[in-house]
Amino acid sequence: MSDRRPVTERRMPGELIDDFLVWEVLHPGAQGVVYRVTGRDTGFPLLMKVPRFQSADPAESLLNYETEAMILPVLSGPHVPRFVAAGDIRRLPYLVFEQIKGQSLESQLVRCPLSAVEVSTIGAAIADALHSLHRQDAVHCDLKPDNVILRPTGEAVLIDFGLAWHARFPDMLAEEQWFAAGSAPYLSPEQLLGVRGDPRSDLFSLGVILYELATGELPFGMPASKGGLRQRLWMDPDPPSLLSPEVRPGLQEIILRCLEPQPEHRYQSAAHVAFDLRHPDQVQLTSRAFKKEPAGFFTQTRRWWKAQVSPIRPPTRVKRDFDAVPVVMVAVDTTHADDERQPVIQRATRQVLSLSDEFRLVCVSVVKAAPLGSDDTATAEHLDHLVRLRDWTAPLGLPAQRLSLHVIVAADPSAALVEFARQNNVDLIVLGAPRPTQQALAWWRSVASSVTANAHCSVHVVRVPEPRQVAVPA
């Protein structure tokens, strides 16, 4: 360790630190003080975070700083602040990054309980942000309303990576049981047992946030002791619908699934949580959805007793294969059900799905708007397409929770498919190439080419094999 003690964290307005001019304190946090700074022409406002060395535990402040200084520079995308600079850890540790314009989720808590629509909208935005983070091989490990900023556009931005974990970097916090102040209500059970680096821990914390937004209460309260913290290893929270009648079975299913004590019983991907929050009608309901009260006294006592007598072990399998739980979208033409491409697309879909145990299949049919029919006719037609879509998926034999069906009315099918895929964090689009009979149609005008060109993800274009042309001698 260096024997050079870092200088004090106190900075004065007007002070120049390397390239940066210090302005006012924006946030006197427990681990670090955040200042507004200027001095580099980045095109966005800047913050400087300086770790506290006169806090209760200076080593912890420095460790959080070191972790964030390691992880933030390699993160990218709209869901994290952009990294700008870091000071020398021995001389003058600081981090300069983008100031996110928006509202802290913490500031929204006074309005709780929120409407189910708002809970789902905010929740899906946070799930999108988590998905983006998890795909970059990182886990936040300290998700709570303080650490979420909602942009005016509705996107969520995650901040404070002082406790984060990254697959490509050594984990300085391993074997240390440090939890940031104010994080206790949001911690996952496995984190309590010292497991770091499981993205599903973030999904548990998201479940706590959803619960709080929907009911105004914390599912496990504000534990003050280690014993209180451990309650989540065995205790059932009150079902959210008990506290707020606004919570419908679909939302309750999502929240309680996120709050499962065992990671393998939760959602396996943040993208799947976002998907369910955006399509509550497609959520596969289980007994969780209809719970009216927590498990009975005897069940909970039994779980508690089990937790006392058998030492609780952390889960042996930490999920780190972030791409193993893909969302696959298949475009099905329900207007031309006799299309010769259908069985070929079906076979291709089956092959793609066989590569993963934890996929989610999203079947989409884009139909043209009915020309000036009554609402009833439009609804009947919509239902008709849904029935055909269900019929199309039947031979795949998928359990309902892996499948969702969507009929989208749009004039431009390729734009509709691309947009739907983007909104729903789709990893792979499966769709048909132009039919052999459409060969006169230029490829560049086809839906397949337009989707391939504009999609944010991979596209699997399925073609009906042409019969081989054998040259017959004259």
């Binding site: 360790m1 260096s2 080593a59 460790l63 070191e66 200084a69 390691m70 850890i89 021995r90 697959a167 490509r168 970097f169 050594p170 984990d171 300085m172 391993a174 074997e175 240390e176």
Partner: protein, 243 residues
């Protein structure tokens, strides 16, 4: 300055060429060879010559157990290595053996310690396979960065705030920040005989200014190296890298 760290070349000329080219293309300006230049492989003389050439131009080289065994007249301690030691003694000139024998076991340069095995009693050729062994080596080295070979598996050990050591399996190609406020023991992996079911040669690049360490895996014509080993009559047992 970018420092290339190569260990356990084991007479594998193809792997050495591939690593040196990769390092050069990545901008390496300095080289450190962390022992075991010979043994197992079919080109000990050519490999020693290349390392000597680099040392003449300022590179660092420390002695490995195979280098010591080849240069002495005694038996190898590792039973599997005995046949290859005898073969290598025949294949090397007197001068080459004298040079191997003259190499230091451990070298310190500023904040870095170079050693084939453990910096604590390097002549015992202890394997650094767990945090406790890494801590012993770091304690003896007394500097922030200790770079070693010998284990044939890329590994990074780092000091936790409690003063203990913790281990990390590095991901090739990712620059890991290795700040000098804590101590690090890196096993750079084997260029000539990796034992991780992946025949690609292993080495690492250290950037002392940025304080980053990047572990690398470099594919090369390992089948050719294996074929030379067979042609030389060296035991198949030793064909780790082509498995």
């Amino acid at each position: 300055m970018l420092l290339a760290l190569l260990a356990d070349l084991h007479g594998n000329l193809e792997a050495l060429h591939a690593c040196l080219k990769h390092a050069r293309d990545s901008g390496a300006t300095k080289y450190a060879f962390l022992g075991d230049f010979v043994g197992y492989g079919a080109d000990p003389a050519a490999v020693v010559e290349i390392v000597q050439d680099h040392v003449a131009r300022g590179a660092i080289a420390v002695q490995g157990n195979h280098d010591a065994w080849v240069a002495q007249s005694g038996r190898a301690i590792s039973p599997g290595a005995q046949d290859s030691i005898l073969w290598t003694r025949e294949a090397l000139s007197r001068d080459a053996k004298a040079w191997l024998s003259s190499l230091p076991l451990c070298l310190r340069e500023e904040a870095v310690c170079f050693v084939h095995a453990s910096a604590s009693t390097p002549e015992r050729w202890d394997y650094i396979e767990d945090p406790a062994a890494a801590k012993q080596s770091a304690d003896a080295a007394g500097v922030p960065w200790t770079f070693s070979g010998h284990v044939h598996r890329q590994m990074l050990f780092f000091e936790t705030p409690a003063g203990k050591m913790s281990s990390f399996s590095p991901v090739p190609g990712s620059a890991v920040p290795v700040r000098r406020n804590r101590r690090w023991v890196a096993i750079v992996g084997s260029a000539g005989q990796p034992r991780e079911r992946n025949p690609a040669a292993a080495y690492a690049l250290f950037d002392p200014e940025r304080e980053t360490l990047t572990f690398q895996r470099v594919p090369y014509d390992h089948l050719k190296a294996a074929q030379k080993i067979r042609a030389a009559g060296l035991p198949d047992l030793l064909l780790w890298s082509s498995r």
